[in-house]
């Protein structure tokens, strides 16, 4: 685990990712035991915060025993995860090759996406099946554990673009279609939008969305916008856009 190797601030409990079950004693898995006792040098009687992004819950915990073989902690009652995104953001990602999609799921989890939907488009080379979503769900849980996020984005099964555009959307959601040739800058498209307003981003696959697809998305209410004036690789767009949303937040 390479999350935060520094000692926590005195007032902040160390966050430790754990699979949480019932209240009571838990023998820590080796990686968690090393993280807690070696990296952060917690001892018997020290408290930490156990979090389980897969279930979006957390619990207070206290180390009650240490031995050469490992560490045991007492886990208190669980409660809903505290550290989760304040804004709902949906990433509609044009399906791209496996390793790129894996990296995008990781980035999206770290940078606060709340829903990820792989979208099969005209130029999508990869056409993942529903089972593939399970892999991305596991990647999202691992990314959340590493970055300290208390929940995970919902990863939906892949959907064809036409089917996605036919779905009804809540009118309060800001829907954007990223297009490097759009006249409008994304910053202008989002200017004045409240910081907690839900946003959906449609991002093309490696070869981009076709002109026809952009026109269809526009008719379905997705406003075309570009980030800068260059043609970004699809695997760069997610981190850049979600980072941008985080930056526009001042808290």
């Amino acid at each position: 685990m390479s999350v935060d190797r520094r000692d926590p601030k005195p007032q902040t409990l160390l966050r430790v990712p754990l699979a949480l079950g019932k209240i009571g004693l838990l023998t820590l898995p080796d990686d968690a035991a090393t993280y807690v006792t070696r990296v952060h040098r917690l001892g018997v009687g020290d408290r930490f915060l156990a979090f389980d992004p897969g279930q979006a819950i957390e619990a207070d915990a206290e180390i009650v025993a240490l031995s050469r073989k490992g560490a045991t902690a007492r886990i208190d009652a669980t409660r809903p995860a505290s550290r989760r995104p304040t804004r709902r953001v949906t990433l509609l990602q044009g399906s791209c090759k496996g390793d790129k999609m894996d990296a995008i799921v990781r980035d999206a989890t770290e940078l606060g996406a709340t829903t990820i939907i792989p979208v099969i488009t005209e130029r999508s080379i990869a056409r993942p099946d529903a089972a593939r979503a399970d892999r991305w769900r596991r990647i999202a849980v691992e990314a959340a554990r590493q970055c300290g996020r208390g929940d995970v984005p919902r990863v939906e099964e892949p959907v064809a673009l036409a089917a996605l555009l036919a779905r009804s959307r809540a009118p309060e959601v800001i829907a954007i279609c990223l297009d490097p040739r759009a006249e409008r800058a994304l910053g202008a498209a989002l200017a004045g939008i409240a910081g907690d307003r839900e946003v959906s981003f449609l991002v093309g696959p490696e070869g981009g969305l076709s002109d026809e697809e952009i026109a269809e998305a526009t008719r379905a209410g997705y406003a075309p916008a570009r980030l800068g004036s260059l043609v970004l690789r699809t695997e760069t767009v997610c981190a850049a856009v979600l980072g941008g949303l985080l930056l526009t937040s001042v808290s």
Copy 2:
């Protein structure tokens, strides 16, 4: 080349990356010939814009001959590159493992960094030598060609953090040290800053900057700030921060 497979808008010339030399006839390399004649179906008499990020120059060009073997273009006089970042941004990247640093140089080039300086810190596992910078310069040129950027970021040789902090900085440059535990959000740190004001970002390596290094950077004038509340991987920070800067621009 996977830059933009769609036909250019009528008023926008197709941008084609080429190594530009003297005025006159140029036999296009195979990849450029395929891109121009097959992907975009340009023919004899059609014009395009040739750009050479390595030299930060561009030139008008016209296809004058096509054969089975390839394409020949007439290249007009070169001029300084037109499509380059409007804001000066320096990425001071804590040195991390080779493939991550390669990916960061690619992201930084696409997202408008103008200078990249690898910084050797306490927790840097990789300690690249000066020759390594040549590799990153080549990666930057290739990334610029792919995304249509007219110039490349300057990639400096690796420097130790202490030596970097001892350098004098122009007082008008906003200097930020990314720290996931900073009280201040990056959005707050940059609020009200003019869109063309120069910014420098110091980003830690895989294990982050140590508390002492953050204190030293703070004394040297780098304001600690965080992007969101999670612990980002070092290879995510660059794209998220630079994307954020692009998003705060409305043009």
